[in-house]
Subunit: 354 residues, 2 copies
DNA sequence: CTGAAAGCGCTTACAG
DNA sequence: CTGAAAGCGCTTACAG
């Protein structure tokens, strides 16, 4: 709230430097009366110098308001302290929570995130990765459209971690789907459902398959009838369009591949005059932002998306030798979040609610 | 889908280079039989050389699978082809749409986005900006907590654009609030409301003030009673907590500072047994992801968040002399999106719906 | 513990 | 149009 014409407050501390030029280690060296290489040592590896010299240099650096030039540092070291996050479709809400976790984990170790979108094309994604790779220390693939082989090829060239997909010989971070699915099926069985559908994601999606495999196995354990229903796309519209097939299947409960599809199905069901959960129970997957905005709010199997991003960064940093390997025992478990969209089917003997 | 042990497919094209080392312009120079400086010219400013030489060099570069080293290029030029996006709170859903627009606009000009969060603290934000600035060509402040003076000081040091806030002498990108507000008030007046509240955002928020000023002026034009109601925070909870104050005001319609607050208010209203829009019409602001997930879906005044991000990047690029100044006539108009949460008040003579 | 020198991979005046 | 040289701001063996 001071006067807005405070131009005379500009940092003229250095004195010797031409206006506008940022101070370098040479300026510090001159001011501190040491060799530039000594300045470099003091600043880049503290504790290796005579404490007095180091102190002197720190003070000179502070007086000049010095900041290291990251590009200049990167050139001889090859390290940019930057991580590339590559996402197929920046529109995917799942991606937002991953970014949050990743950004914070990166910042915690002095790293910064570079964001790139590949616009849903595998070819473009490879190109994007090639473009970004030279300026970052490592890559994280969030919702990749690449084939396993392409991913492996990329991983041979650069430090890399994949999120939400398992690829042989490539470090990856995936959630444990079992706990959340277990709890969700327990809940559905407990309130009286006997016949459940899985509304699948894209045919070639690794994660959709992983979820289906687990759901099928666990449903069988509980003597629930289970059926997989194909969808047109893993979006709101995909959920809406699947409504007829879901009805035709005659199930009383659906687990959707993701929340967006769950919400679409919820909307279509209500539009058709069905009561949710009375006529149809709906459970989503992931617990994305907004999944509890619906009425009734969407029950969902939460994926620890933040943690996924966080862990991916930590694994990458460990690969780079920058940080210790993270220790993540059981930290990636999914969790069932019961909300209003799932409950007892109409006319079930047991009207209990989880 | 080939054999996963395809190790002999590794790019051994160069031949002379040590394994793992990336080719440089010196390798190209040698292969093409020219001086490295000529290679540099051919690659960095096409069209300035003898077409034959240039062609020769391009082929050599391609044969070696050469990619320029961005850090090495940045050192002499001072240009990183990178833009820093600084956001106070990465959790703010408004930010996501802005990022989308920004990322695409940046990519269109060969720029890449660096993401940094300042964790909602003004002090940390200044520090974050200082940390990021040296490695980017310019800065975009998305949801800044800095004071006008701090922003001006930053803008003197670095190319910078602020989004959603007007600061003297600093380039900024803000939406036109009038069109959307006009249409929303037209709608409310048309269906029979006579008394409306604005549920305000943070006291010191520039944008909340801008919206309120406009709403007040336009309400008066229409002889609508208008009142501003303070809130605790611009979030879902802030909307929920404001419910009692809204009821006490005796209004039949509310325009919320943002969608999150609108959704919170909607939830609290329904919880209290009110019918929306019968007992209370609610209009949000921004049209964030998920604002149409509610039942009824939230009417809202859409802010062109994508365009905001896109334009901010274009303005910044223009400032850097990289791109022509964008031409954005009327492109940032807000727009009223009527959905289910607003309509005729119970017992109003006119039950029309916009 | 610290200095002097070479080098990271580019770009860009300066000559010719 | 192209070569030869210097320089961008650091880091890091190599000596001492």
């Amino acid at each position: 709230m001071t006067d807005s014409t405070g131009d005379d407050e500009s940092p003229a501390v250095g004195g010797t430097r031409p206006r506008g030029a940022r101070p370098t280690i040479y300026d510090i060296a001159q001011l501190a009366g040491v060799n530039p290489s000594t300045v470099s040592r003091a600043l880049s590896k503290p504790g290796r110098l005579n404490p007095k010299t180091e102190q002197l240099i720190r003070e000179a650096a502070k007086a000049l308001n010095y900041r290291v030039n990251p590009m200049a540092r990167a050139l001889p070291t090859g390290r940019t302290h930057t991580l590339g996050l590559i996402v197929a479709d920046i529109t995917n809400p799942m991606f937002f929570d991953v970014v949050r976790g990743a950004e914070r984990a990166a910042a915690a170790d002095g790293y910064t995130l570079v964001l790139a979108e590949s616009q849903e094309s595998g070819a473009l994604e490879a190109e994007t990765a090639d473009r970004v790779a030279p300026s970052v220390d490592g890559l994280i693939l969030v919702t990749t459209r690449l084939t396993d082989d392409e991913i492996r090829a990329l991983a041979e060239q650069h430090p890399l971690v994949v999120i939400n997909r398992l690829v042989d010989d490539v470090p990856s971070v995936i959630p444990e789907v079992a706990p959340g699915i277990d709890a969700a099926l327990d809940h559905l069985a407990a309130v009286g459902h006997t016949s459940v559908a899985f509304l699948a994601g894209p045919e070639r999606s690794w994660m959709s398959r992983a979820r289906w495999d687990e759901i099928m196995a666990r449903a069988v354990d509980r003597s629930l009838n289970i059926v997989e229903i194909a969808s047109s796309s893993p979006t709101l519209d995909g959920g809406i369009e699947a409504f007829n097939r879901v009805r035709a299947a005659g199930v009383t409960a659906v687990v959707a591949y993701n929340d967006l599809m769950g919400i679409g199905l919820l909307r279509a069901s209500q539009q058709a005059g069905l009561s949710v959960p009375g006529d149809l129970s709906i459970v989503g997957f992931d617990d994305i932002f907004g999944s509890d905005f619906t009425s009734p709010p969407l029950s969902t199997i939460r994926t620890p998306l933040n943690r996924l991003g966080e862990l991916a960064v930590q694994r990458l940093l460990a690969q780079l030798g920058t940080a210790a390997a993270p220790d993540d025992v059981g930290a990636l478990a999914t969790e069932f979040i019961p909300r209003g969209s799932s409950g007892a089917p109409r006319g079930a003997g047991n009207a209990a609610r989880a």
